[in-house]
Symmetry: C2
Subunit: 436 residues, 2 copies
């Protein structure tokens, strides 16, 4: 049987998972591909580090050229992460006629265009299923089974760390900082958790999904991002009273040829399938014009789930190699759709304000909202202290710009008002309002 030789860039958690999983299911993988997949060289930072790998055919190197210039290596797997030097290495591999499988969301969300151009020039494949949702098949289904649909909406819980934190906060009524510290202790959050808790990781992933779903390139800097650091158990309790769960969502939708793309915490109805996606699990909910609603659920990170996605891609690329082809049209960003300015986006809002507990206050606030075309769907007023009350409002759909203007005006009211929190409300089962 033919052998297809593979170079692996990076031998951390994911890299060693790929080696391990590929070795374990070697025989069936070969039978499915029609060729044996063999990792021959691995690029590492420290060549002297002890590695517990039972694969005798692998040689380690610190020199990328040993992989790039090896004519026997047909596929390069990049699991180093980060932009530099991963970008240069991937570009070099593609230019040298090697197909690339990458798990690198940072890279794909920023430089997808350059990489695909290099892949097409090199007549090779570029695959990146593992860059979104870990082991969950989502890029593949969007590009194949669902390819005949016009995708209207993609909504994902695509960061395991923040979902773990929000789930724990809700179940244990613990505040953010305490749960974050616990997540760090358990290894669910990194020592520098910024990329996760500020929503940047999710933003990269939704940029990738939006590009695929809408056939138009969306890069990471185009995504509006807000993290979960301001969420309190008080907000979670009010959400619960109102029939909602708070999740960090990546949302991408198209409407009249323009694209909305954003990451922020949101109230979602308890009955929605996404509301039940707990702990480190991820899920991506897709709405297509033919398929209707579909959802993909699983482990969005971790050594073996990520390896599962990488190996799925490796097998596809290897099948193409055995057939002597590559998938020139794998990149589907052949349209150019505008991205809607964030201030133009319409959502509903949950607002929590502290106001003086005396007659006329609610009327003044309601009047400010009315002046700014913010229509209120419900208000609950709770006594907080002797002098202060807490107002919990849910708005109807309103333009972001109007809401922000209304909040500024409320800050200027003659009595002291504290805006405790502002969180978007996504009903999700709303039909996309085409033409609105």
């Amino acid at each position: 049987m033919n052998k297809i030789k593979i170079g692996l860039l990076g031998c951390g958690t994911v890299g060693s998972g790929v080696i391990q999983a590929l070795e374990k299911n070697k025989a069936t993988i070969a039978a499915k591909v029609g060729a044996e997949l063999e990792i021959t060289k691995v690029l590492v930072r420290d060549i002297n580090k002890k590695r517990d790998l039972k694969n005798g055919t692998i040689s380690f190197t610190c020199n990328i050229d040993e992989i790039i210039n090896d004519p026997e290596i047909k596929i390069v797997v990049e699991v180093m992460g980060g932009i530099s030097p991963a970008k240069e290495y991937v570009l070099q591999a593609l230019k040298h006629g090697k197909s690339v499988v990458t798990a690198n969301k940072d890279l794909m969300a920023l430089h997808g265009k350059d990489l695909f151009e290099a892949a097409n020039l090199g007549n090779v494949d570029l695959r990146f299923e593992a860059s979104v949702g870990g082991g969950i098949p989502i890029i593949g289904p969007l590009k194949t089974s669902l390819a005949g649909n016009q995708i209207l909406k993609v909504v994902g819980i695509i960061n395991g760390t923040t979902n773990y934190i929000l789930t724990k906060m809700a179940k244990e009524k613990s505040e953010f900082n305490k749960v974050l510290a616990e997540a760090q202790r358990l290894g669910y959050a990194e020592s520098d958790p910024t990329a996760d808790i500020e929503g940047l990781d999710a933003a990269r992933k939704i940029a990738i999904l939006a590009s695929i779903a809408f056939n138009s390139r969306v890069t990471f800097p185009k995504v509006y991002v807000e993290g979960i650091t301001k969420i309190t158990t008080r907000d979670i309790c009010y959400a619960n009273e109102l029939g909602y769960t708070i999740k960090l969502l990546g949302i991408a939708q198209q409407n009249n040829g323009t694209i909305e793309v954003r990451v922020h915490p949101a109230f979602i109805p308890n009955e929605h399938p996404l509301a039940k996606v707990d702990d480190v699990f991820n899920a991506i909910y897709v709405q297509g014009d033919a398929v209707g609603d579909a959802m993909f659920y699983g482990r969005g990170a971790g050594q073996l789930p990520t390896a599962s996605a990488v190996i799925g891609d490796l097998m596809e690329v290897a099948r193409n190699l055995t057939q002597g082809i590559f998938d020139k049209s794998y990149c589907t960003c052949f349209e150019h759709k505008e991205i809607k300015p964030f201030r133009e986006i319409k959502t509903k809002y949950y607002l929590r304000l502290t106001v003086p507990d005396r007659p006329g206050v609610l009327a003044s606030i309601a009047s400010v909202f009315a002046q700014h075309e913010v229509s209120i769907a419900s208000v609950v007023q709770k006594r907080k202290t002797k002098q202060a009350a807490e107002l919990v409002l849910i708005t109807h759909l309103v333009k972001e710009a109007y809401l922000q203007d209304a909040l500024s005006a409320i800050q200027d009211l003659p009595f002291v008002t504290q805006i405790n929190n502002v969180i978007r409300v996504e009903d999700l089962d709303d039909e996309v309002r085409v033409g609105e």
Copy 2:
């Protein structure tokens, strides 16, 4: 741009959905495939029937030969359903060098082997994503993104009619016959509902999924099948009291190189993601050795969801045609695993018995179970009438054979015992017990 001509067999609900969805997204589909997909001929039963199709290029025929012998037609889409004449037509198309996309679960679950052999002989593709789970991408992901996994378990809610009925029974506390009649009125159940309510439809689908998941052919007659006609609201209430939901499941798992495959109603824990799959929605839960737990959720039937899957397949086949290749190794049944006899299978059970309400009865029953190695996890006794009590038991894991023997022995006890219902309990998050 190249045109790829397509013959469509059948123009009922799904067939007209395919025409409609293909027409609607024509331009983007062509851009993704690199060729225009054009349905040129449609096989119908009644050529004089009025059809509201806005596609002018289609000609209708009652003669299969006009499609089979048309050298311009490269792909045949079969959405007639049933075994005959669909099987003959598909085989003829494959032999004439036409790739086939089918939505026909009956055919694939019974004659998959013959059809794949014909496809390989004809150097053409055979695809069938729409045969399981309607629009939900599941066959594609198992064959690509998850292909590097050893799949341990596939558990699906794969029949929308029965899921609708069970959901309604639970929500409205209505009995089976009443809900079935309502489902028939609403078009969610057919006038002859046998294939759905007796589990046959689900059995065909789990046979197809098992074949793909375990690389070994499983045909419909090998699947143990039990339907939902014996489920009562009383069982649903007890399930609820015990923290369970009743669903009709298709279950396939492999264990030590043998396969278990069955369809029956089951208690599943309320916290499991499958327990929240309601109404006509379907979901397929997959456990792989690398990916861990994954779930695929969506509309398991209906005109456009099914068309979505058919068109996804069409696009794949068309891409292969433009590259001059076909996927010879799409059929992955290259292993031969035994199917475990049903009496050897171990599950937990819920048992509901009516017994005389007097001392010693429970002791006698418990002793019969003990003699047959049926270990009881919990018992609840409820007064039913003055003379009779209802016993609700949950067993530990026990071999089907032992449980059946115990139930026969209970029937032979000197006092009258009525076995009201026996339903399996699936905890689902149990690790597959390798080696047990």
